[in-house]
């Protein structure tokens, strides 16, 4: 794939790969729907390659502000109870998760 020439037609494998990267479980019928929708969007977006951007610096953010730094002082934070209050599953004072060690992501 030439990086300078965006493609507009996505394959099933690419859709599954993107869904994997985005941590979204996807069914067979959703792959085909996503392929159709994303292809239509990329066809529209492809017009951007016609804009002459030679020598233009990317602009990430409209303000171009530099970092604000606050004083390094102690301030109030949320309590453990507040932080855990919205968790779907907790164990004692911890977020509960499936096993982490030994998995392959």
């Amino acid at each position: 794939m030439n990086e300078n020439q965006p493609q507009t037609e996505l394959t099933d494998d690419e859709i599954r790969h993107v869904a994997h990267l985005a941590r979204l479980a996807i069914t067979v019928s959703e792959v085909s729907k996503a392929k159709k929708d994303l292809t239509a969007i990329f066809t529209h977006i492809s017009r951007l390659s016609a804009v002459d951007t030679d020598g233009v610096q990317p602009l990430d953010h409209p303000t171009e502000l530099l970092n604000h730094l606050r004083e390094d002082t102690r301030s109030d934070t949320l309590s453990q109870q507040q932080v855990l209050a919205n968790a779907p599953v907790i164990k004692d004072v911890y977020f509960a998760v499936p096993k982490v060690l030994g998995e392959s992501i």
């Binding site: 794939m1 990086e3 300078n4 020439q5 965006p6 996505l10 690419e14 859709i15 993107v18 869904a19 994997h20 990267l21 985005a22 941590r23 979204l24 479980a25 996807i26 996503a34 929708d37 994303l38 239509a40 969007i41 529209h44 977006i45 017009r47 951007l48 390659s49 804009v51 951007t53 233009v56 610096q57 990317p58 602009l59 990430d60 953010h61 409209p62 303000t63 502000l65 970092n67 604000h68 606050r70 949320l78 507040q82 932080v83 209050a85 919205n86 968790a87 779907p88 599953v89 977020f95 998760v97 499936p98 096993k99 982490v100 998995e103 992501i105």
Partner: protein, 450 residues
């Protein structure tokens, strides 16, 4: 009848997700003003769901800065308004709690994503509402519902507590019946906030002081790209009438060219999903938000199933789009190229504002469209053709009522879109006030409300 009872009785549009029992307001310049909050702005009271099953029942442990500032100024907060899921949409049909209906014609959409807030004001359910605008999500529904929708310059209003969609584009703003209310409320919620690292640190101009002083020798820029065959006839006619109104007030018209208007939406649909894919990575089914009931053998499965169940189709589409344009091999061709075009769009505005004070056009190419009529995502995205570049550049914009269309069998509002340069918000509101003082469109209300 109390405000709570009034809203409960009259919200036949699904504008509200939650209607609150109101509390005695504190003293302040907004004393007693009833204000609704878009459901993507966190409040300690009630829930904040972003119109998503992902955040069903989520109760924020803190208030957004704007919520604290409204309460301190004496506003009465009346509840949370429905929106497109995570503010992604232009119709408020993509809301987990059902579509919101337009009070001018309940078979039509109110626009979006802040559709509930626009309807809450348009239908007189409350005095004003807060929304958020990432590519037009305040101004477009304001236009389609016949109210004033104002998006301040990026950084003027703190985003602390606004659930992030696209952080470099998101801005909180107001829905009101008048420009004066927009100025009054924004004056209270704007200003530096140390909790938002992108908050504008300089002195913020007073929006109310000279609001009713007309601007002399006003130069209005009208881009050729904003008028023409993309728009419905009634929209073009209303904009021409608005230009004539300003001419009568002594303004001169400057013909402009903004050729990058056409690529704005494409640029937006690279940048906004890219930022969204990163921002929405936080919904993992662990710390808060929806978690699958299925037994998962590992973390990957837990993330993937929880996210697939919790997010709706449009959100998933944009996360995938954003993930793709940021992925290895495509970053340069899509994302970085869009950032370069972003700079070109800013430069185009800078050049334009050398020859005019304000840029005028329609907020949207059409009036409110029927519910369920835009199944195709690209045609939905094109609703924001005139509003997306405002966010890409970070300048200020406002939509004010400027006419009605009778073309579709019901009387449907049309919005006039005005844009001014960075931090020229006081000037923008004065220019909007000039039009409002000379016209009566903003006084018209849909149907009879009890």
């Amino acid at each position: 009848m109390s405000t709570t009872q009034h809203i409960k009785k009259n919200d036949i549009y699904n504008a509200f997700h939650e209607i609150w029992e109101t509390e005695e307001p504190s003293d302040g310049v907004l004393h007693g003003l009833c204000i609704a909050i878009k459901d993507n702005i966190v409040t300690k009271k009630g829930t904040t769901t972003c119109g998503s099953k992902m955040l069903k029942g989520y109760n924020s442990p803190f208030n957004a800065t704007v919520v604290d500032r409204l309460e301190n100024a004496g506003a009465v907060l009346v509840g949370k308004t429905n929106c497109d899921e995570f503010a992604m949409g232009s119709s408020t049909e993509h809301c987990a709690w059902g579509p919101v209906k337009n009070p001018w014609d309940t078979n039509r959409v109110p626009g979006g994503s802040s559709g509930g807030s626009a309807v809450a004001v348009a239908a007189n359910l409350c005095d004003a509402a807060l929304g958020s605008d990432t590519g037009g999500s305040i101004r477009q529904p304001a236009a389609l519902c016949g109210v004033v929708g104002y998006k301040p310059t990026y950084g003027n209003v703190s985003r602390y507590g606004l659930v992030a969609f696209a952080s470099s584009l998101d801005q909180i703003g107001t829905f009101t019946h008048s420009v004066e209310d927009a100025a009054k409320i924004t004056q209270c919620i704007s200003g530096y906030d140390e909790l938002d690292s992108t908050s504008y640190p300089e002195t913020h101009p007073d929006l109310c002081e000279n609001l009713k002083n007309p601007i002399k020798h006003l130069r209005i820029g009208v881009p050729s790209q904003y008028i023409g065959s993309n728009n419905e006839t009634a929209v073009n006619d209303a904009i021409q009438d608005a230009i004539d109104t300003y001419k009568k007030l002594g303004a001169s018209i400057v013909e402009l060219e903004l050729p990058l208007t056409d690529v704005g939406i494409s640029t937006y649909y690279v940048l906004a999903p890219a930022e969204a894919s990163s921002n929405l990575a936080r919904y993992d089914g662990i710390r808060y938000g929806h978690r699958t009931d299925e037994l998962c053998s590992d973390l990957f499965e837990l993330y993937s199933k929880s996210r697939a169940e919790g997010f709706g189709d449009e959100v998933k589409r944009r996360i995938m789009l954003g993930t793709y344009v940021l992925s290895s091999g495509y970053y340069e061709a899509y994302y970085n190229n869009a950032l370069k075009i972003r700079r070109l769009i800013c430069e185009e505005y800078k050049t334009a504002f050398e020859s005019c004070d304000v840029i005028l056009g329609p907020t949207t190419p059409t009036v409110a469209f029927p519910l369920g009529s835009t199944a195709d995502p690209v045609s939905m995205y094109l609703n924001d053709v005139y509003t997306a570049n405002t966010n890409i550049a970070g300048i200020c914009g406002i939509s004010i009522p400027c006419g009605f269309s009778e073309e579709h069998g019901s009387r449907l509002p049309i919005g006039l879109h005005l844009q001014c340069a960075w931090h020229e918000d006081a000037k923008l509101l004065r220019i909007a006030q000039m039009f409002e003082s000379a016209t009566t469109f903003h006084t018209e209300r849909p149907g009879a409300i009890a």
